[in-house]
């Protein structure tokens, strides 16, 4: 009985995903192999994408920005997550979680425009700095919440016990906090990496000429250049790269997962 009602309840989402996600992506694969001009199937678009240094540079540059965003959000949110999970309780904890996530109740486009105005006011124009500020700002909750969720599993009194056993601050970080944080770091990094790698809005609004990352590149290829083949091939290369890096990261840290 439960199974039957579950099937019915799950169906809308499955149908929506099939129609709105999987079908377009299959279409994307089709476009990446089909040359509309010559009317033949070909791997030329892929060869183009992975041999053209212009594309490769954009991919590398985007990846650098994405990795920098991951590291910056991690560095900024880890102390906050530790404080909230280990040293706050009751109302204070709820208040802190709300304070750190309310900015994200505002639409991301509005936020990006507002940030642009703010940065202008302090004399920061579009460019690498503005781009990074926008990225880090936008992705903070995607790092903070998984980190907090991991660290909140640290049982009460564990840090106290460790202290009575002679553990200083370094020991507590190395032997308790970090091991517990690893799953959160992996999940948070995955989310932030995937989203920031192909981010479109922030590079376009805040990056200026330095904002030409893969997001805007694919956008330009397909919508401005009507080059569906290269745009699709590029998108798929990025997807494969992302999935590969995640699989490698999880393999590397499998032993660390609690």
């Amino acid at each position: 009985m439960v199974e039957r009602s579950l099937v019915i309840a799950v169906a809308p989402l499955v149908v929506a995903l099939l129609l709105l996600f999987y079908a377009p992506n299959i279409a994307l694969v089709y476009y990446s192999f089909y040359d509309r001009v010559r009317g033949v199937f070909t791997v030329d678009f892929y060869l183009d994408v992975i041999t053209n240094t212009v594309y490769l540079n954009v991919i590398l540059y985007s990846l650098t920005i994405a990795v920098a965003t991951v590291l910056a959000t991690l560095a900024l949110t880890l102390p906050v997550a530790v404080y909230i999970a280990l040293y706050s309780r009751g109302f204070e904890r709820i208040l802190l979680l709300v304070i750190f996530t309310t900015p994200f109740w505002i639409d991301f486009l509005l936020r990006a425009w507002a940030l642009k105005s703010l940065l202008y006011m302090v004399g920061v124009r579009e460019g690498f700095l503005a781009l990074m500020v926008g990225m880090v700002y936008d992705y903070i909750p995607f790092m903070l919440l998984p980190l907090y969720a991991s660290l909140a599993r640290i049982p009460p009194h564990i840090v106290d016990v460790a202290r009575t056993l002679g553990a200083g601050a370094l020991d507590i970080w190395a032997r308790i906090i970090i091991p517990y944080a690893v799953p959160g770091v992996l999940v948070g990094s995955t989310l932030v990496l995937l989203m920031s790698f192909t981010e479109l809005v922030i590079p376009s609004l805040l990056g200026g000429v330095r904002g030409f990352t893969v997001g805007p590149l694919i956008y330009t290829l397909i919508l401005a250049g009507d080059d569906w083949g290269r745009g699709a091939a590029l998108a798929i290369v990025i997807t494969v790269l992302s999935v590969l890096s995640i699989v490698l990261a999880y393999r590397r840290f499998k032993g660390w997962l609690l």
Partner: protein
Amino acid sequence: MAGVEVRFEDVWKSYGAVIALRGVTLTAPGGRITVLLGPSGCGKTTLLKIAAGLLEPDRGRVYFNGVDYTRVPAERRDVGMVFQDLALFPHMSVFENVAFGLRVRGVRGLELERRVREVLDLVGLDRSFYNRRVTELSGGQQQRVALARALVIEPKVLLLDEPLAHLDYKVKQKLLEEVRRIQRSLRITTIYVTHDQLEAMAVGDVIAVMRDGYVVQVGTPREVYENPRDLYVASFFGDANILDSRFAGLNSDGLVALRFEDVILNPNGDVDVVYEGVVEDIVFQGAFVSLEVNVNNRSLRLLVPRREFVRQGVSLGSRVRVGWKLSDVRGFNSGRT
């Protein structure tokens, strides 16, 4: 080694508006088990955490063998602490849990292995446990790991916060014995927090009865049991009838305490006060039977050995005599007998 003496001097601590400790002065003698006994919220765990260095008192001092330790942080005190919830490291094996305190002290290799093995032997966990996850163990086994983890660093003081609170009766009895055995063999100063008077009597060399942030009375279990300082101690440490002084046979006003077992059923002489009454309740407790006798609309509790109860053939509604010696009546303040 006689063990480190721990002394609290006029220790105060409050959490916001709540005052947890109101000037506690207490000495935990070296090499002995001192029990902090009291209901929840009396401040006993706060006092323990102050001994551990996990809390700083608002006022007052803590001395280890006469040296002021008040501002020494927990990680430099060499205390072994077992928390009520044990707080084992769930992400580590039994061996690693116990090894923790040695690893952070830089002990490595064979010495580390030897010391972990010795202390696990002491608490009765053999090799087959070393690689088990602590989450797979029973309550009693987890208890042993927590104790071993605290002992492996050869602490100056062992601090136990209701360590057996969640265990079954039998396991608890066994571990109480073992705590005593281990403590005696190591002669380590131990402060043991509990709200359970039976546990307190079973392990305590010294009992400190606490209430509302004060230490009300300190003494050996027998001293405190036989000469409670006030009605609170009399009824919290052991059970007692609280009676009107004149009803109890004294020539003064006020309230007095009379232990359940000091009330004698159908006495033959050798008592100073005798009343008649009706048995209203019988609770079989094993070695003893607890009776409630109504005497002139006052309710008296008696604890009678089972054999005596059987011999007298008492049942519900029986008319009985009850009596006691005046020397067993505990008066307080000026009315002490």
